[in-house]
Symmetry: C2
Subunit: 154 residues, 2 copies
DNA sequence: TATTGTTATACTCTATAACTATA
DNA sequence: TATAGTTATAGAGTATAACAATA
């Protein structure tokens, strides 16, 4: 880490930091995504749980909680809701009857695709300002950072 | 908007959207920034209010609420706390005694600089993965988007 | 005894509504 | 009567803690 780009005297102001901008833009994106999901009867964390399940990142609820960076009791209520909507199935693992194995139903896959469509439409609003090329580069950087950061899923 | 980059059939999956990534990364950035501010006795919204005041975006509390995208009653409690820390002064506008004019004190400017330092250290954690050039491009894109999006400040 | 899931409870953040004072 | 600010209250979201079932 050199003096030129390192931690030494660097008069960068708060609104200029990545952190500040991620905090503010993240809040805006969360608000808009929440609105876009509302007609589906879902919140962002529901979409997060469906994603985790669909990607095979978590069969059990405990694994899902770990993958999402939330507490297991929250997964219970998220899963309750998704079961009510017919989006996931919860079956006891016959090998270890303490575990609840979560799987996405056909309806769940349909819902998840609708979540993705909602996110895409928010993308188009948010990124309307960026030319396609810059937008693609931005997406790559976001992916890089998200991949590194421990990535709780929503 | 052409078919190639437009809203037509485009099988982009939820975790691949900017929206999803901004939601998740924004949550991570908010968590880390909150931790980094804790030793200063501040929350991100306090830093947001100080920023708004220091930039002259809001003299009165009502203007501050509008600039931050929050409700006026929240500004009251944020300002209460900042007054208690000696970071801002609240004086009645002599021209209209209903208005409370907020100004940053010297101590407030010092605190705000400490907030910026905290954000920079979170930046270094988060963006350690990105080469300097890519990081700079990412910052530019973030600024562009934040500038357009209505920009509630924290 | 340890672990998975669940339920009951509490806490944090922020909004809404009612109120005060000034205009 | 309308507006800036304040106070009181309520709601959403999520965590912590106590508990039940299974290992």
């Amino acid at each position: 880490m050199t003096d030129a780009e390192g931690t030494a005297a660097r008069p960068q102001t708060l609104p200029g930091t990545l952190t500040f901008q991620l905090v503010t833009l993240g809040a805006i994106a969360t608000d808009r995504f929440t609105e876009a999901l509302a007609p589906l009867g879902l919140k962002p964390k529901h979409a997060g749980l469906m994603t985790v399940v669909s990607r095979g990142l978590a069969a059990s609820q405990l694994e899902a909680a770990a993958a999402m960076g939330v507490v297991p009791s929250l997964v219970v209520s998220l899963a309750d809701h998704l079961v009510k909507l017919g989006a996931i199935e919860r079956v006891r693992d016959p090998r270890d009857r303490r575990r609840q194995v979560l799987t996405l139903t056909r309806q769940g896959r349909r819902l998840l695709e609708q979540c993705a469509a909602a996110a895409r439409s928010v993308d188009d609003e948010l990124a309307a300002a960026l030319p396609a090329e810059q937008r693609a580069a931005f997406a790559r950087s976001l992916s890089d950072l998200a991949g590194r950061a421990g990535l709780p899923t929503a």
